[in-house]
């Protein structure tokens, strides 16, 4: 089934056990905003794209150049997966399987999904906290070593949740970083917190000052994608993230 989603690498791309950052549209667009800012600040080049018949028939134009909305950026050591359109619910499983297969083929050292953790009182929170989920004992050990607070109980839903499982099946170490965010509004503040947390793993030294200064401009530009992501989320049981799981250990 994974051939319904194809990862197309640019010619001549060389990767050396890269760390993968996955920032697909989700609550608060935390991953998308963080991924875009990292690509911009690190001046990463496009190294490939993702295509699928399950995606809407949409291409984007930047500077007169035609591009796929699902793009891969990076250098030898880091790969960033980003999208300018929401992932349709029926594409979540094929997309995560295809990505996990590709991460395995490039011997990814670690897969980090950046996303949001919707909180009702976000307006009262000055600096959002970041929580983490790991897919294995190795990943959890890594998170404890970096002193990232672990999410202890709850549901997680969406692309990043399936990504953790698909990576586990392929013996790939994967974590999700979840920054407290507004559920249905673009949240550059949450993206800034997520980038600060990411730096514990990547040591890229990215300053988030400019991201916070451009907060209002980003919120305006991200409105349409936020609306798309919210519509898509309704088909992914995202509301379950507010629920309490019934099983206790």
């Amino acid at each position: 089934m994974t051939d319904t989603v194809r990862i197309v690498e640019e010619e001549g791309v060389r990767l050396k056990n890269p760390i993968v950052i996955e920032g697909l549209p989700d609550v608060g667009l935390v991953g998308t905003i963080a991924a875009s800012y990292i690509v911009e600040k690190m001046k990463y080049h496009e190294i490939g794209y993702i295509e699928s018949d399950l995606f809407p028939p949409v291409m984007v134009i930047h500077g007169g150049e035609l591009k796929s909305p699902f793009c891969l950026y990076g250098d030898e050591d880091v790969v960033v997966v980003s999208s300018e359109i929401a992932v349709p619910p029926n594409a979540v499983y094929p997309l995560t399987r295809a990505l996990a297969d590709w991460f395995s083929s490039i011997n990814a050292a670690l897969v980090i999904s950046v996303t949001g953790l919707p909180v009702k009182n976000r307006i009262e929170i000055e600096k959002p906290e970041v929580f983490a989920v790991g897919n294995s004992e190795v990943a959890l050990k890594e998170l404890r070593a970096k002193q990232v607070e672990l999410l202890q109980e709850g549901f997680i839903a969406g692309t990043y949740a399936i990504m953790l499982r698909e990576c586990y099946k392929r013996d790939l170490s994967a974590i999700s970083l979840l920054a407290q965010c507004f559920p249905v509004y673009p949240d550059p503040g949450a993206a800034a917190s997520a980038i600060d947390s990411l730096d514990k793993f990547l040591q890229l030294g990215i300053d988030v000052k400019e991201l916070l200064e451009r907060e209002e401009e980003i919120k305006l530009k991200a409105r349409d994608l936020m609306r798309q992501a919210a519509l898509s989320a309704s088909g992914m049981q995202k509301s379950a993230e507010q629920d309490m799981p019934i099983m206790y250990r």
């Binding site: 307006i123 507004f182 559920p183 249905v184 509004y185 673009p186 907060e215 209002e216 401009e217 919120k219 305006l220 409105r223 349409d224 936020m226 609306r227 798309q228 519509l231 309704s234 088909g235």
Partner: protein
Amino acid sequence: MDIERERRIIRAMWGYNGNLEPLCEVEDRGDEIVITLDLPRVKKENVEINTSEDSVEIRAKMNEAVCWERWGSVQRRISFQEFRKQIKLPEPIDPDKASASFKRGILRLSLPKKKRKVFIPIQ
């Protein structure tokens, strides 16, 4: 959700009369309806709220107009200077008891319902 309905929702975000529809969330909390709206580039004093029993209209002027150029296949230049949103309420509210707050670009409206819950003692 069918594709056409989805398209209508997305299309509705863009007005061609200088207004932009803000992202908004409506929540029914039993005794009240809570509405929040994301209003970037807006100051508190430039927000105007008018409410009746069954609807709310919000207009919010931006500090500076948003202008996107060299964009789109239909038109190459578009600018917006105001957010505008009209919301039909699911139940009648008491406009005199409505309240609003504005913090970091988020407007929050608290609209108490007209029919309040009544406690029934068990005999």
